[in-house]
Amino acid sequence: MSGGIIVPRRRLIAGAGGLVAAMPLLSACDAINEAPLTRKILSMGEEMHMASQRALMDRDALAREFTRADLSPVFRSNGTKLPPGAAYAAHAARGFADWRVAVTGLVTKPLSLSMADIRAMPQRTQITRHDCVEGWSAIGEWTGVQLSRVLAAAGLKDRARYIVFRCADRIGDALYYESCDLVDALHPQTILAWALNRELLPIANGAPLRLRIERQLGYKHAKYLTGIEAVESLDHIGAGKGGFWEDRVDYEWYAGI
């Protein structure tokens, strides 16, 4: 199961097999799992987790920062390991010299940042633990610009409540995307990272630029960033649940647990 991640939820299983007697029960369980009311009730857990965690933690409470002695010998990659398409390949071949990250939406001054622009801004380096929703963890050293600085440069409008992250990796029919609210967007450890373990970000880990959002699980850490968009609501982004996997398999939007 090492590489087998995030398989979209299969539709209701049916039929009988070895466990003939138990099968109707199992199918019934799956039918319960799929029912709209169940999904509604189940999502209460997410709301309770978000509310309680936000109440328990300071707005700027930091994720633990480790030392270089704690680094994982190998930092595992996951999800997209190489974005498909000629355009990305061409960027990679040129060392991402022409890569641009657009800062748009509810900002007073939209930006189009090159990697050089991003590296010219004040940088933050942090050694943190990356926790995948699957259960594994890896510790890596990240360097990049704080998202709060980029948003300050663009001038966030008062109506902005969420930040949407647009990505270059296409999975199946759609481009990956993620989002967070302003508490996490403006958190001091939320950075746009271009270096992992003091080297340029490898392609498997999201070159040339990825998000680090240290108090949430790995799927929130959008890779291959092409755009940062400030919005008032997530309703009209993708299918409205705030992220690629949130839309498709009903992952929690708040991934603090």
Binding site: G18, R64, S72
Partner: protein, 290 residues
């Protein structure tokens, strides 16, 4: 688990030495409502937590010690498949588990190479997102229920009256006697059957005050949000991957408790035991006629 109240036994009339023992055995009100309620809510909750937990484990069926751990790191426990063989590896010991763990056939006859089989997980086919939603919602039911129950246990007299281990009960010969009685399947009769034995007390105390809180706190220690809120919590367990390993071990300790619990209920008289956990009333097994 319960509480002894007054026996509703028909008492023998005075000066009736020759009267035979009463035909109907004595009934006692053994389990108060909070005990019964919590028992059944917990039974359902723990089953859901276990099965959805096994689904979550299936997403990465490897366990580590320390802060980090991923595929390139050494796992002290792994469930996997190699060719046609499913296996469980603990340390250097490899146990073949084809058909049950690592490689099994689902209800439609499709071979799956996942750790735990579909009949043991919620939902039955691989769905980490749903598994997590079930697990993380019912974790609230467990935590809130346990907190209320602990408060009731402490302040409602249950702890003092039923669970408190008296000094005499700590005596090694007393504990040994209870072990021997259990091994010989000799269970207390009469009045004594309404009270907990020392092994019973220790198991209930262990589950309520050690295992269940351990499940909740190791669970919270895996949360990156909680790690920022309460950084000490994950340190107590020696890192996130250690917390995950302890969570897994404690879950199986609860399964072991469940198995012993069911065996004991069956041996002690399932109808009587079940009734007492539903209605509260327990029929005292009559004293053996010597």
């Amino acid at each position: 688990m319960g509480n002894m109240a007054e026996a509703e036994a028909p008492t023998a009339p005075p000066a009736a030495a020759e009267t035979p023992p009463p035909a109907t055995p004595a009934r006692v009100y053994r389990h108060r409502l909070p005990v019964r309620l919590w028992h059944w809510v917990n039974a359902v909750t723990l089953l859901i937590l276990l099965m959805s937990g096994l689904m979550i484990f299936n997403a990465h069926p490897r366990l580590y010690w320390g802060d980090y751990g991923a595929n390139a790191d050494h796992a002290w426990l792994a469930i996997a498949a190699q060719g046609d063989t499913g296996y469980l590896r603990i340390g250097e010991t490899r146990i073949e588990t084809t058909g049950l763990l690592g490689r099994w056939t689902d209800g439609e006859g499709v071979v799956r190479k996942l750790a735990f089989p579909g009949w043991a997980t919620i939902p039955t086919s691989y769905d980490l997102a749903s598994g997590r939603r079930w697990h993380l919602l019912f974790a609230w039911v467990l935590a809130i229920g346990l907190t209320l129950y602990m408060a009731w246990t402490a302040f409602g007299g249950h702890l003092k009256k039923d669970l408190h281990v008296r000094r005499s009960e700590w005596a090694p010969h007393h504990i040994w006697q209870d072990i021997k009685d259990h091994a010989r399947l000799r269970f207390p009769r009469g009045e004594a059957a309404a009270r907990y034995g020392i092994l019973q007390k220790l198991s209930y105390i262990g589950v309520i005050f050690i295992l269940l809180p351990l499940m909740i706190f190791t669970g919270l220690a895996m949360s990156p949000g909680m790690n920022a809120a309460w950084p000490w919590l994950v340190e107590v367990f020696g890192g996130r991957q250690s917390a995950r390993s302890i969570h897994f071990i404690a879950a199986w300790a609860l399964v072991a408790f469940f198995v012993v619990h069911i065996v004991m209920v069956l041996l002690a008289g399932p109808v009587n035991e079940l009734r007492s956990m539903i209605t509260g009333w327990f029929r005292l097994p009559p004293e053996k006629a010597e």
